[in-house]
Symmetry: C2
Subunit: 334 residues, 2 copies
DNA sequence: TTTTCTTGTGCAAACGTTTGCTTCGGTTCA
DNA sequence: TGAACCGAAGCAAACGTTTGCACAAGAAAA
C-alpha cells in the first residue's frame, strides 16, 4: 500500500513548515509569492491530494464537502431522479454525496443516520420514514443541517422541499370523475406517511367537490412497492362490484397494478381506467399511454441540495419551505 | 453544535483510560469483567457512538467499513438494481456505501475516484468508463481494492464481475433471425466500451452463423442514454430500406427507440420487431410485452460486493473473475 | 535611535481513534 | 525468599489536517 503524500512530505520538499503549505492551499494568511510558488511546485511534483478524512476530523466547524442522502429506495425512479438532482448540484459545488437506501426500514434508516453523523457529513437530505421520527430530530438537535424532501416531519422547524401532493391527487381524481367514473379505487401509500395522507385527502376532496361519497371498500393502503400495487389491484378488481377506475399513489405500485390488470386481461381504459402518481420511463409509449401525475423529482432534488448548501454556508438562516407543483399529464389510460 | 461524546468522555465517566474503553469496544486485549461492565454502562449512559472519521484516520490498515460505488447513471434501472445488490450485501456486513454518478463523464469519474481515495474507503466498485482507464489503474496501484463490474479493464489483474454480453446478444439476435428477419438494425453502445463491443460481436456472430452479411448502414452507436436510442431508431427507420427488426443494446435506449416507433405509429412486431438489452419495469405488461435480454443486475452487484469484502479481508487472495449469464425472455415484441 | 507595525513564517495543540510498550500488583514456581 | 511470569490497566505516539499564537526581520513612525 503506497502511502499518499501528505502535508508533511510537501513541506519537507519545499523546505517550509506544514502550516505554510496548508495556508498556501487555502489562500489564508500571508504567504510570500515565491514561497507559494515553491510549495505549488512541490505539491505538483508529489501529486499531493489533501486527505479528506484528516480534514474532517480536525475541522468540525468547517465545510467538509460531503453531504448525505438517505432515500427509501433507489429502484424507485422518483428517487433515482431526485438523487440525480441532488448529485448534480453537489458536484457543481464540489461536494460529494454519500447515498444510502433505507428500504422503508426504520432500523436501516437509523443505522445510516448514525453512519452519516459518525462520518461527520456537512448535512443530510432525506424523506423521513414517518412524520414523527425521533431519530431525525435527534440529528437536527445535534446541529447537523437536515433538509426534508418529499415527506415532511411534523415537528421541527426545518428546511424542506415537498411536492403538492394534495393538489396533484385532487386534480387527478377530478379528472377521473370528469371522465364519468363513479367507483374509483385508490391504492394509497402508508397511512403514516405525509405523502400517503395528502394524496388520500386529495382523493377525498375530489369526491366531496363532486358530491360523491367515498366508499371505504375502495380505499387500500400499500407500501409504495410494486408487489403491494399488484396485490391491492387484484383485491379491488375482485370485489363484487369493482371500481371502474384506479388511482394509484406511486409509480412502482402503478407498475404492479398494471401487472394485475394485464393478468386479468382487462382493457384499459374501457374496462378499467387508471391514473398513477409518478411518471414512469415507458409511460408515454405504453399502450395505451398512461395518464399520470408527474412529480418534478429532479427539481426537488436540486432545490433540496441548494437549500442544504445554503444552510451549511449559513447556519442561522431562517428555514425555507418549498412546495413544488406536480402536473397531470393526460394521455389515454383515463 | 452539541459535541458527540468521545472516548475521552466515556473514559472519564468510567474512571479508566481511553485505551481501556477502546479495547472494551473491540474486545481486544485483557480487560477485567467488572471494568468492562463499568465502561459499557458509561458508554450507554452517554450514548457513545464511535467516530468513524477518527477511526479511518488512525487506522489505514484496518477495515473502516466504507466502500465506494461509482456508476455511470443511477437513472438507468440496470445500475439502480446493481446498486441495490451492492448495498444489501454491504449493509448485511455493516458496511456503508458511498455512491456516486459519473454520467459517462471522464472528468467526473476521476473526481469521484479522487474523493474516494481521499476518503480512504476500504475499496471501490465501478464499471470503468473505458477499457484502458489509467486513473483506475492508478488507484489499484495505490493499493485500494477495486472490483470492476459490467465493464472490464483490459490491463490489470483485478477482481471482476461481468455479464456474458456476447452470449446474450448472440442468443437474442439468433432469435430475431429465427423469426424470419433478415434486415436487423442494431443500436449499440459506445465503441470503446467492452459491453458495447461484446454485444456488437454477438450480433455479428449471430449473422455469421446464419450466413447473413452484416449491413454497415444498420449498425449505429449510441451512448446508452435514452435520447440516443430515439435518435438512432429514427435514423434507422428513415432508411430507404429500413430494418424489419431492431436490437437495442441497453434499456434506456430501448425506451428511446420505443418512443420513436410510437411517434412513427409503427406496429410492433408486425411493422418493426424489437428486442432490447435489460429488463425494464413495465416491459412485461407493455403492449405488446417486450422481448428482452435480462441481465442479472442485482446479482452482479451482490457478487461484486462479496468479492470486494473478501479482498478487503484478505488482500493477497488471487483475483476472481465472474461471468454471469443473462437470459433471453421471449415475449411478444419479436 | 527607539518604538511600533507589518509581513512572512514556524511551533505546537487539537480533532478522536488504535495500539505498542510500560507499569504494577499479584501468583506460581524453584 | 526470590525469580519469573501473568493479567489488567495506563501512557503516549501516530494518523494528516487546521489554526491560534509566537517570533524574526524589516519598514514606518516617533
Amino acid at each position: 500500500m503506497k502511502k499518499n503524500p501528505s502535508l508533511v512530505d510537501v513541506a519537507r520538499r519545499a523546505n517550509v513548515n506544514i502550516s505554510t503549505v496548508s495556508r498556501t492551499i487555502h489562500q489564508t494568511g500571508k504567504i510570500g509569492a515565491e514561497t507559494q510558488a515553491r510549495v505549488q511546485k512541490a505539491m505538483h511534483e508529489l501529486g499531493y491530494k489533501p486527505n479528506r478524512v484528516a480534514r474532517r476530523l480536525r475541522a468540525r466547524d468547517v465545510a467538509t464537502h460531503l453531504i448525505g442522502l438517505i432515500i427509501p429506495n433507489i429502484q424507485n425512479p422518483f428517487f433515482a431522479d431526485l438523487a440525480r438532482g441532488v448529485e448534480d448540484v453537489a458536484y457543481r459545488n464540489n461536494f460529494a454525496v454519500m447515498l444510502c437506501n433505507y428500504d422503508e426500514d426504520e432500523k436501516k434508516e437509523h443505522f445510516y443516520l448514525d453512519v452519516m453523523q459518525a462520518e461527520s457529513v456537512d448535512g443530510i437530505i432525506l424523506p423521513p420514514i414517518h412524520e414523527q421520527d425521533p431519530a431525525v430530530l435527534q440529528v437536527v438537535q445535534n446541529g447537523t443541517p437536515v433538509v426534508c424532501v418529499d415527506r415532511i416531519l411534523s415537528s421541527g422547524n426545518l428546511d424542506k422541499v415537498e411536492v403538492d401532493n394534495h393538489s396533484g391527487a385532487l386534480e387527478a381524481v377530478k379528472h377521473i370523475i370528469a371522465q364519468g367514473h363513479r367507483r374509483i379505487g385508490i391504492i394509497g401509500g402508508p397511512a403514516d406517511s405525509s405523502t400517503g395522507r395528502e394524496r388520500l385527502s386529495g382523493y377525498k376532496d375530489a369526491h366531496a367537490s363532486a358530491n360523491l361519497a367515498v366508499k371505504p371498500e375502495l380505499v387500500r393502503f400499500g407500501d409504495f412497492k410494486q408487489e403491494s400495487g399488484q396485490r391491492l389491484a387484484n383485491e379491488l378488481l375482485a370485489l363484487a362490484s369493482p371500481p371502474t377506475a384506479l388511482f394509484v399513489c406511486n409509480g412502482l405500485m402503478t407498475a404492479g397494478a398494471l401487472e394485475a390488470i394485464a393478468a386479468l386481461g382487462l382493457r384499459i381504459p374501457k374496462q378499467i381506467a387508471i391514473v398513477g402518481f409518478d411518471e414512469l420511463p415507458l409511460a408515454s409509449v405504453f399502450n395505451p399511454p398512461l395518464t399520470v401525475v408527474r412529480q418534478p423529482a429532479y427539481e426537488v432534488g436540486q432545490s433540496a441540495a441548494e437549500l442544504l448548501l445554503k444552510r451549511i454556508a449559513d447556519a442561522s438562516r431562517a428555514p425555507t419551505s418549498l412546495k413544488l407543483q406536480p402536473n397531470l399529464i393526460i394521455r389515454k389510460s383515463c
